[in-house]
Symmetry: C2
Subunit: 191 residues, 2 copies
DNA sequence: CTTTATTCGACGAATTTGTTCCAAATGTAC
DNA sequence: GTACATTTGGAACAAATTCGTCGAATAAAG
């Protein structure tokens, strides 16, 4: 099981999925993009859904790495949280399969997408809650329930995704609006 | 036969074709985008290919209108030719179904695409040749064979499409390079 | 050479898709 | 209202596409 070939397939699949979406992408498309025969894919993956999950996991990993880097670069919890929101929303507007999987109504019926969606949501709440906890230890934030606040902020971000997708706003406008909401959170949270 | 409904279908189909390409677009996709039942499409069009032809014809018409407007706004043949090339290439990089139909290898095998391609090529040669003829009458250009020169310039533009699609250049860079080539034509043509 | 890892062509079964047919709905003129 | 033409979409079906499997071919490793 060459990790090389597997990664090659995942990256090729990522490009094709991003272009055509899950349903319209065929295993042949992926195989052709990866420069392999179709049946070779089944040596590495059980089925199409598993390929998609791997692609999403790979993108999520990249996103997490990017976010962690930005978080570690900021010292205050306020800056960490701001970095988190900015990177997350920026990545969201330029789509990618993770964002698509989390939103596309076309995929909404698939059970395996529900799994991804829920897993990732829990993970995000943990990330945000972690930052908030740090801010509480720091005395930057009041001693609120970090998990509850994390859920609130995430829900708020998700609420912003819909107008982002309808494209009535530009990316910059949206980022500005989101930061305004974040500021409101801060003024309510900061000591 | 409501021209309204037909136009509505053509515009909806244009969006879907542009996103997914000819093959991956289903009649259901088009019908859904147009807010109609699938079989209603067959009241207005014989089959999927005819819908696509109508979309391309519609886009070509728009492109021609845009080009004519720009050509009429310029007085010298030099400016007319420059406008023509600029608009054509700008439209090409932002794609659309006409550009896709003229280039997508995936469609290359279809006979009906060959028809569109050839028809439109002849039309473009005529357009360019017309401008050159005007320039010859104007004494802006030497008394060369307008049709032959038109073919040469078109072929030159088509040669530029490939690097445009590989995206190693930005649009602006490409326009600059193309204008350089046009200048070379002028210096060889102008009296 | 033997064994293990990897690739691919060919195939069957299940699904999707293009297209047709016909009845229902809608509009239009009397 | 009736009579008529226009427009729509549900159901059905054949053809094409697609997923996933199997076994054989090829390459790599020991």
């Amino acid at each position: 099981m060459s990790a090389n070939s597997k990664q090659q397939i995942i990256e090729a699949a990522g490009i094709v999925f991003e272009r055509f979406g899950f349903k319209k992408t065929t295993m042949d498309d992926i195989a052709y993009a990866a420069g392999k025969g179709k049946s070779s894919l089944y040596y590495y993956f059980k089925n199409k859904e598993e390929v998609f999950e791997a692609v999403v996991a790979h993108e999520a990993k990249q996103l997490v790495a990017e976010i962690n880097k930005a978080i570690n670069a900021s010292h205050s919890a306020v800056d960490k949280l701001r970095s988190y929101v900015n990177i997350r929303m920026k990545r969201f507007v330029q789509r990618g399969n993770l964002a698509t999987a989390l939103n596309d109504n076309f995929l909404a019926t698939f059970a395996f997408i529900e799994k991804i969606r829920n897993n990732y949501r829990d993970f995000e709440v943990e990330m945000i809650a972690g930052i908030i906890s740090h801010g509480i230890d720091n005395k930057e934030f009041k001693p609120i329930d970090a998990n509850f606040a994390g859920e609130a902020i995430l829900t708020c971000m998700i609420g912003f995704e819909v107008p982002l997708l309808t494209k009535t706003h530009t990316t910059e406008e949206s980022v500005k609006k989101i930061n305004n909401v974040i500021d409101m959170f801060f003024y309510g949270i900061c000591t």
